[in-house]
Symmetry: C2
Subunit: 302 residues, 2 copies
Amino acid sequence: MPANFIALDWGTTSFRAYLVAADGSISDSRASPDGILSVANAGFEPVLERQIGSWDKGLPVLASGMITSRQGWHEVPYAIAPAGLPELAAGLTSFRTVSGRAVAFVPGVSFRDAAGVPDVIRGEETQVVGAASGGSGLFVTRGTHCKWIEVVDGRITRFATFMTGELFAVLKDHSILGRLMTAEAASGNTGFALGVGAGLESGAGAGLLHTLFSVRTLGLFGDISADQLSPYLSGLLLGAEIAAARQNFQPGPSGITVIGAPTLAEPFIAALSRAGIASRFGPADAAVRGLAAIAKHAGVLA
Amino acid sequence: MPANFIALDWGTTSFRAYLVAADGSISDSRASPDGILSVANAGFEPVLERQIGSWDKGLPVLASGMITSRQGWHEVPYAIAPAGLPELAAGLTSFRTVSGRAVAFVPGVSFRDAAGVPDVIRGEETQVVGAASGGSGLFVTRGTHCKWIEVVDGRITRFATFMTGELFAVLKDHSILGRLMTAEAASGNTGFALGVGAGLESGAGAGLLHTLFSVRTLGLFGDISADQLSPYLSGLLLGAEIAAARQNFQPGPSGITVIGAPTLAEPFIAALSRAGIASRFGPADAAVRGLAAIAKHAGVLA
């Protein structure tokens, strides 16, 4: 089947491109660590052509992710939630590259909570719209920043960002909590399980700013071995995220659909399970599905 | 009045020494940035003598703080809460320096909460025992790690550590939250006040892992100016600490006694005030008072 369009999922730390046929099947793909942070100013097109230069320049290119941000190639204003295919298609920003490709960038989505505090997603809107396929549900994306996203009839109604991944990295690398941790891989999951339990309790209990200190004291007193302290911190943060998020987001009978790399999605699903919340993996090609649906809705396909 | 003993308050980042008379008055003092982190292995005595070499070598020296930890000069095992003057005096570890000084180190205190999770203080026990003077109350020390300490009849009954100060530094210097902050000093306190409000809500609301992201989004959307983002983060963390701690610690009618450098104690007292909690500054010489009381109880004075 001939290719229909080129899908780009271009984020902060990674570049992914797909040659997509009309039936949604992927006939070719490229992946590299050329995230926008590692691409020099005005160097986006050279990176793109180095990756997909051999692909038909007559095909439309649809892109989502941080490439559409101020730090990316062309900044696209946020669509405002609630937002689904019509709003994302209406918000497409189109331009032509020097090499002649027709490119359209998908907008991120912004949302203000009841207190008026803004929140944003950029890239996740495309994954979630793709995974939801017009249906409803609660979706959670895993990464440096994790997004809990409520979808009703294919439209993103509200969402919240949790800095779980970044806090884990920052605390491990730059705080006293990393001092007692060993570099060796953990054996078993006793630390992770203890951490999830402590994190789930931290909301109703003494709060995260206090509970975090247990990473140090449990290590100091030998209650948790050095190789289990990193999994303990990971579990603690996941538990705290789940305890807080579940107060505002109801999974419903079908549970939570989790989107992200398996190394991040699996521990989160294990933590959800310990919290008694059902969940399942979302499709690995959620971004491509979303880009295809937006492209079709916008009529930008050949 | 002749000097009675030498008090040392030797912490992670600072060294303080006091020449103390029998009535508690301070006749001479030394302060330097020679905290234990900056003193090379086995170099503690040279630093001590460089600072107080001219003081009478016949006077007993009493020390508290991180100098008594594994990373310090001589590790002293923790006394176990509840602990007051008798337990701290009984736990003194004594040794003689090469230059002939008789030194006694005050133990820190450990405590296990209802779930069996340990917590520790080292140095704060001396400040709090000194500030309490045999009475009762809720004491909070400010620093990299903040301690909420309950004292009943001069004895430390329970306490909890909050990593507020370290989290502020780590998030500002190493996370995305610092990116939009300006180096210039903040004018006014709108950011701080907004942050305290958001932090106080975060416990009952969406949780700290989510609320922290508002430091970025309020900056991105221009809701808070760049010079107010650092005060906003500071207020947010103080509010979250207070919201969590107040669930487990009751200030009582006399309010909270706050111990620490004015630059740290003042914003905390302002945040307590916004939470409707009364507070007052503790004595600036709390450590010396505590060391004097422990020395007297132990009978180590001349």
